[in-house]
Structures are given as structure tokens and as C-alpha cells.
Amino acid sequence: MELVATAQFRRAMERAIAAGSYSERVVRLVADLARAGGDVSHPLLDKRESSKKAVLLILTANRGMCGGYNGGVLRTAVARFEELKRTFENVELYVVGKRGFSYLTYRNYKVARSFFEFDDKPAFAEVDAIASELLERYQTGEIDRLDVVYSKFYSISKQRPTAETLLPLAALAAEAVADEGAEEASSAGNLQFEFLPSPRSVLEEIVPTAFKVEAFKCFLDAAVGEQIARMVAMKAATENADEMISSLTTTYNRARQGQITNEILEVVGGANALS
């Protein structure tokens, strides 16, 4: 099972890297836009005044055997849920993964939507369906905020359960500004782009795309995190089992040897008595 998890982890990792390069390109485009068109403003980037409804998306695994992975994510999720409930009148829970669903329903949290079709390779089309639905609800003003809780991937040895705000997408503008500063320092990429039809229109398209890719990245990170957690858990399980086998073998051998010694003593004792 450790080997299976390792193979799945490699695959998930490759996908995560591909999505990472895509979102980097998107951020770079926004930085180019900021340079060409001045301000980067879009309805999806601005904080909403109203606080009627929020959605909390929780990404957990469908299966167990992955150590503290689900527990960590769910603890963070519950904390964020309570926090959101203080500011928003209504908080809906969207749960991905059977583990999260059973944990939350068992504790009497109301789960609005649940998704079990994601495994170790979430497809963009599947994530896109959920993301588009949420985006639509946000655009029509039905929800005012979207938070996601997932296991964020930092490196192979470090993943942390993280709660992030996906809508409004404040992070995009901040990243773009940071990126712009970095690029100016390196003096590379000083190209002046022509925008078709206009920076404004490109921005209108790029912000929803950035949101969807961001959401997709969360799913991929979660998939990678799950496989790593499973790999580590199963490695520990194999090692524990090996240790137990060796200690049980010793105990067994000792008992057998004891019995043999006993029998020899009886035979010798009997022989002595006869002679």
C-alpha cells in the first residue's frame, strides 16, 4: 500500500506542477496588465459589504489509512466554520470526500452539498463544474464569501491544513503587485504588450479564470497531501509490523526452546531414575 501511494503521489505531483505553472502564467499576465492599464480592479477582487451568506468548501479524502490527514483538515475546518458563523448569518458547508462528510454529519453539522467523485486525480472539468456554480452564486450576490479548507502543499516533507479565502480573490491582486516589483528588479520582461481588445476586457476574463485555477490547485494540493500522508502512514505501519514480527518471533522461539529444555530435563530425569 505504501508503494501504491508512492506511485499515486508521483502522478498527483506532476499534475500539481503543471497547474502551478499555469497559475504562475496567469499571475504574470495580471502583472503585465497592471503595468499597462494601471489599476487592477474587478468585482471579484473587492470585498463585499454585506455578510449574508458564506460557503465553506472542505476538501477531505474518500478513504482513510492516511494518518492524521483528514483529522487535521477537519479540525481546521470546524474552527473556520465557527469563525465564519460569527460574521455571517448563514454558512453553507460544501464537503468533498466521504471522510469529511461522515465526520460532519455525525457531529450534526448541516452539509449543503457533498462530492465523492474526486480521487487521486481530480480533473479540471470536474472542479470547473463546482467552481463555476460557486462563481455564479457569488456574481449574482447569493453568497458573499467563499472559503476553502484543504491541506496545502509546501514541500514533500511539509503540508499543513490551511483555511483560505477564495472569493473575493484578494490574493491575486497582491501577488500581481509583488510579481510586478520582482520583474522590474530583474529588468527582464520589459515588453510593452498590446491588449486585444483592451486591458479591461482581458482582466474581466482573467479574474474568473484565476479563481478556477486557484480552486483547481487546492484540489490538486489536497490530492498530493493525501497521498503523502498515506505513504508516510503506511511506511510507519510496515515498520511497526516488522518490529512486531521480530519481537513475536523471539517470544515464540524462546517459548519453544523452553519447552524443548523441559522435555530434555524430563527424559534425563527419567533415565536417571531408571538407572
Binding site: 499534475r15 503543471a18 499576465l29 503585465d32 479540471f124 504588450f193 476574463e205
Partner: protein, 132 residues
């Protein structure tokens, strides 16, 4: 001139080309060697690549952006597939679904218009692919 098309999942196309025609949101746009740096908003439609040996490759892309600079054309798109892989029935179904969406508020109308336009472009492309 290099042409690269990526979706969030993977790099779909990477080719050496002589000439590229991309579907912008309002019509086709052609990019040749030495084109001025440009960023454009893509619509849904046919991406035509004229390769080094003058053969033409056709791809279907749906939304996103094209960036051309330093003789590299890169497309960021949400969906990209070979023209021949398009399924006409599926495209028609998507169009029907889009047409059935509610348009009761300005925001919903905008979303619907976009979905319908994308679905129509897909049907058109699929029909074209079926004729070939």
C-alpha cells in the same frame, strides 16, 4: 516560431510553427514570425497551426488568453483538444443546456449569453470536424 498551448492540467500542444491562427473573442487573429508583443482574449473555436513542413494542424480551444512575444505564442485555455476528438452530440447537448439556463437578472443574463456563445462555437467546430 514556437506555439505552446496549456490547460490547467497539462501542456497540450508544443510545436514549431510558421504561422498561427487563434480564435479571439470576436474573430480570428493571425500571428506570424516577428509579431509585435500582444495579449488577447480568446473565444471558443479553431486554433490552426501551420507547421514547418506546411501541413496544417487543427485544435479546438475554449476561452482563455493568447500571449505572443519573442516569437513564442502561448495559449492559456481551460479546454483544448484535437479537432477530430470533438463530439457533435455532446456539443449539441451542451448548447441545449446553455439555452435552458435562466436569465432573470442582468448577471445571469450575462452568464447565459457567454455559455450560449461558447456552446455555439463548439457545435460549429464539431460540425466542421464532422464534415472533414
Amino acid at each position: 516560431m514556437k506555439c505552446v498551448a496549456v490547460t490547467p492540467e497539462k501542456k497540450v500542444v508544443e510545436r514549431e510553427t510558421k504561422f498561427v491562427v487563434v480564435p479571439l473573442y470576436d474573430g480570428e487573429y493571425a500571428i506570424g514570425v516577428g509579431h509585435t508583443p500582444v495579449v488577447g482574449r480568446l473565444g471558443a473555436g479553431e486554433l490552426r497551426l501551420t507547421l514547418e513542413d506546411d501541413s496544417v494542424e487543427r485544435w479546438y480551444v475554449e476561452g482563455g488568453f493568447v500571449e505572443a512575444a519573442n516569437d513564442v505564442v502561448s495559449l492559456l485555455t481551460t479546454r483544448a483538444c484535437k479537432f477530430s476528438e470533438l463530439d457533435l452530440n455532446e456539443a449539441k447537448q451542451a448548447l441545449n443546456d446553455a439555452l435552458e439556463r435562466p436569465a432573470t437578472s442582468p448577471e445571469l443574463r450575462e452568464i447565459k449569453t457567454k455559455a450560449v456563445a461558447t456552446a455555439r462555437a463548439r457545435v460549429r467546430a464539431a460540425e466542421k470536424a464532422a464534415r472533414r
